[in-house]
Structures are given as structure tokens and as C-alpha cells.
């Protein structure tokens, strides 16, 4: 039993446990209400104190005993839970109806039926209480009998089943064939006309100096590249890289000079001094 269970069980344990076997105390006016698990529990104890078969219990006598018990409890100024008082009221009414029979309403149980129902409820409760005791009187596992103390590990034979089916096999062969024919290499790089530094060199040489003074590098990009750059297009980015590479190369050669006013700022260029010589 876990600690939590033990606590939960302890919380429910009532002092009434001691009353299981002993008869109801003969002095019914020694009132201890803490011990009862509700009015029915008290009623059952009172009924059993009548020492008659529960099938022949006198409900009137039982009602009297209960009412006397409750009255004694009130005299002793004990706090009575509302359910005990409700039961007392119900029993008082039942008793008066039993003593002064009246024609029952059509859709209501008669006082005799109500009395019989109460008697049945007490008998059923009593039967379950008895059953619980008999159950616990049985030999119990781990207390009176034991299971195998040293269980043996059952050896396991591992059988590895490889799952493969014809479809998988054919697909595998299909994949292989595709690859072999070059129809579908694993990673397909399609031919793309990326801008090259050589192309950019030619482009810049062709148009350099057509306008006087500093010009933006962007002017030397191929057509459409500026728009492409905004979309992040790969070809446009390659054009920018190629153009920049070409510009650096031409600057190294002295064909042009570069200017950038601040980091990451626009790059400007104009024909260099030796431009004429080179031509």
C-alpha cells in the first residue's frame, strides 16, 4: 500500500470499527455521535440491539429508540449533523403514520411500504457489512499464502522478421534504373544561365564612361537584375556578385576607380586615369 493510500484509508477510518462485533451499548444514553457513519449506521446499530431477526424488526420501536437517542444527544448539547435531524423527522412522521393508518395517496408508497423499505435497507447494509467481514476473514495473498518468491525470467527467442514486399523491391529497382539513366539524379541541378565575371567585365568595359563623373554600380547590372534583387532571385544575386567582382578586377587594373562613402553605402565608379592607355 502506498503512503498516499494509507493516509486516505486512515482518514476514513472511523472509531465505529470497534462496534462491529459488540452489541449496541445497553445504556443508549451514553451518546457518542462521532462514531456513526450517518443515521442509517446508527439505526442499524439500534436495530441490532433489539436482538431480533432484522426481518422481524419493529420499525415503531426502532423509531422510538432513534428519537430517544437524538433527544439525549440534544440534551447533552451535542452538535447533531443535519442528516440525523432529517432522519429523526422522517422517522417521527413514519411512526405516526404507522400508528394511525390512513388511506395512502395513489402515487405514494404506503407507510407500511416505507417501513418495509427501511427494514430492507438495514438488512442489505447489514448483509454487506457481514460480507466485508467474511471477505477479510479469508486467507489473503501476501498474508496467509504467497506467490512465487523468485520468479524466473522466461527466456526469449528473438525472431527477426524482415518486412519487405514485392512492391518495395520493384520500386527500389525503379529508383536504381532512373538513376542509372540519369533521368532523375538524387539531386538535380538544372542548368541555369548565371551571370559570370567574364560577362560582367565585357559589359562594364562596353558601357564605361558613357556618362561623365561618378556612376552607381547598379547601372552596370544586367537588365532586370535590380528588380530581381528585390525578390531575392538567384540569377540577380549572381549578377550582382559577378558585377562586383568585375568592378574590383577593373579597379585593380586601374581601368576605373571606386568610391563608397560609408560602410554598406552605395558604390560609385568612374573611369580611371589609365583607362585611355588600356583601350
Amino acid at each position: 500500500m502506498s503512503a498516499a493510500t494509507a493516509v486516505a484509508l486512515a482518514a476514513e477510518t472511523s472509531p465505529a470499527e470497534d462496534l462491529d462485533d459488540g452489541p449496541f451499548p445497553s445504556d443508549a444514553f451514553v451518546v457518542d455521535l462521532d462514531g456513526w457513519e450517518g443515521p442509517l449506521d446508527l439505526l442499524l446499530a439500534l436495530a441490532r440491539a433489539q436482538k431480533v431477526d432484522l426481518r422481524r424488526i419493529s420499525i415503531v420501536a426502532l423509531a422510538d429508540q432513534y428519537l430517544a437517542y437524538v433527544a439525549a444527544a440534544r440534551r447533552a448539547s451535542l452538535e447533531l449533523a443535519a442528516e440525523y435531524l432529517v432522519m429523526a423527522a422522517w422517522l417521527a412522521e413514519l411512526k405516526s403514520r404507522l400508528l394511525l393508518p390512513e388511506p395512502p395517496a395513489a402515487d405514494e408508497p404506503s407507510s407500511d411500504e416505507m417501513a418495509a423499505a427501511l427494514a430492507f435497507q438495514l438488512r442489505r447494509m447489514d448483509a454487506m457489512r457481514e460480507a466485508g467481514k467474511r471477505l477479510l476473514a479469508r486467507p489473503q495473498l501476501g498474508r496467509d499464502f504467497w506467490q512465487r518468491g523468485r520468479p524466473e525470467a522466461i527466456p526469449e527467442r528473438l525472431e527477426v522478421v524482415v518486412s519487405a514486399d514485392l512492391n518495395g523491391l520493384l520500386q527500389a529497382y525503379g529508383r536504381h534504373l532512373r538513376r542509372r539513366r540519369g533521368e532523375a539524379p538524387l539531386a538535380l541541378v538544372e542548368p541555369v544561365a548565371l551571370d559570370s565575371v567574364e560577362a560582367a567585365l565585357a559589359r562594364i568595359r562596353n558601357s564605361l564612361g558613357q556618362a561623365p563623373g561618378w556612376e552607381s554600380l547598379a547601372r552596370y547590372l544586367p537588365e532586370g537584375a535590380l528588380a530581381g534583387l528585390r525578390e531575392g532571385s538567384l540569377t540577380a544575386r549572381s549578377a550582382l556578385a559577378a558585377t562586383f567582382g568585375a568592378v574590383l578586377e577593373l579597379a585593380r587594373q586601374g581601368v576605373l576607380v571606386l568610391r563608397q562613402n560609408q560602410p554598406f553605402g552605395p558604390i560609385y565608379l568612374k573611369p580611371g586615369n589609365q583607362e585611355g592607355e588600356r583601350r
Binding site: 493510500t5 476514513e12 418495509a116 447494509m125 466485508g132 471477505l135 512465487r148
Partner: protein, 209 residues
């Protein structure tokens, strides 16, 4: 030694060994899986149970599970092994009895029978012991869960089936295994067996109403 053993004997030895090796109960299906096809498992178990009856270790059935346990009558002699165990509360014991005898039974029906509300942890405690479990629902408004006892419960108390519960036949014959409210139980034309368990209710008192 097994070379000349008749096949039936060999199957019996195998059943014995399987059950002996395991601390946990094995079902007939568990056993059949490792026996030659076509083995009559119930017959083997019955034979083994018979052969073990006079011994110190016996074959016990608890619901679907079978296991070896020490003979209950040896309890006082084996007492040194006894562990001090926590006592169950009276409420827990009674609740367990109500579930065992009235199953399947709802929480509301348990409270009706015991005439008192169930404490917070009572069902939890029994559930943690592995003695009860929720199974199914009552097809009444709210569709409350119904509780039943487990094979573990049977095993703990050395019962083969719930039909072996103490006095169960007498209680049933007396009409006391009916979880409906008492006033409805007693009304023969109440007609609402909607919620009630399928126990045949005999009139409490043939002379009475």
C-alpha cells in the same frame, strides 16, 4: 528424462514450469500460446490442480488468471513471512464488499446501499490496491461509471470467480443483492428495472406487500 515421456505428460510439465516460473498469473491463452497446437489447456490445468491439491504449493485460479500459491492452511506455519499490513478502514472494506457483491455498481448505488456518502479516497484506495476498476457505464441519466472487482481482487482473497464469494448464493436468494433504492426494490410493479442489475429479485416476504 523427457525422451520417453508421453506427450500429455510433457505438456503438463510445461504448464507447470510456465506457471511456476511466473509470479504473475497466466491466462489460458498465455499458456496455449506456448503449448503444442491443439492442447486442451483447461484439462491440463484441471489435472495439474488435482495433482497439486495435497502439496504445499497449489494451483489457484483467479478469474482469467492461473498461478501457483502456497497452500492457505500452511499460513500459521509460514507466519514468519507475514508482513504487518495496514488495516483497511471499515468504510473501505464495506465498499469493497458492496462492489464485489453488487457489481457492476455505480458510486451512487454504493452510497445508497451503505446509507452514507463515499469518503473522498475510498474508491481511490481500492483502485490503487488493484482490487476494483471502472468498467462500463449505467445507461441512466448522467451515464455514471460502474465499478467491478478485478482478477487481482479474486487472487488476493483466494477466489476463483465472484461466484465463490462467501454466502453469495444465500444473499442473492434473500434478494439482498439489489442496488436499487429500497423503496423501488420492494415495489413489484415499480417496473423500472432500468438501472437495476440483472439480479432476479425475489419478494422479501411472500406474505407482505
Amino acid at each position: 528424462m523427457n525422451a520417453e515421456m508421453p506427450p500429455g505428460r510433457q505438456a503438463l510439465r510445461l504448464v507447470e514450469a510456465m506457471l511456476f516460473a511466473s509470479a504473475e498469473p497466466l491466462s489460458e491463452r498465455d499458456l496455449a500460446e506456448r503449448l503444442p497446437a491443439g492442447s486442451d489447456v483447461p484439462a491440463l490445468l484441471a489435472q495439474l490442480q488435482g495433482e497439486c491439491a495435497p502439496r504445499g504449493v497449489q494451483l489457484a485460479r483467479a478469474g482469467a488468471g492461473w498461478s501457483f500459491v502456497t497452500a492457505a492452511d500452511l499460513s500459521p506455519l509460514l507466519a514468519r513471512e507475514r508482513r504487518i499490513e495496514k488495516k483497511l478502514s471499515r468504510a473501505a472494506i464495506e465498499t469493497l464488499a458492496v462492489i464485489a457483491y453488487h457489481q457492476p455498481v455505480t458510486r451512487g448505488e454504493i452510497e445508497e446501499i451503505r446509507g452514507v456518502q463515499l469518503g473522498k479516497g475510498t474508491l481511490d484506495a481500492l483502485f490503487e490496491h488493484g482490487w476494483i476498476e471502472p468498467r462500463g457505464r449505467r445507461e441512466t441519466p448522467g451515464r455514471p461509471v460502474t465499478w467491478v472487482t478485478t482478477d487481482g481482487f479474486l487472487r488476493h482473497f483466494g477466489l476463483g470467480t465472484t461466484a465463490e464469494l462467501p454466502n453469495v448464493d444465500e444473499l442473492r436468494a434473500a434478494g439482498l443483492l439489489d442496488a436499487r433504492p429500497a423503496i423501488r426494490v420492494l415495489q413489484p410493479d415499480g417496473g423500472d428495472d432500468a438501472g437495476g442489475p440483472s439480479v432476479a429479485i425475489e419478494p422479501l416476504d411472500p406474505d407482505g406487500g
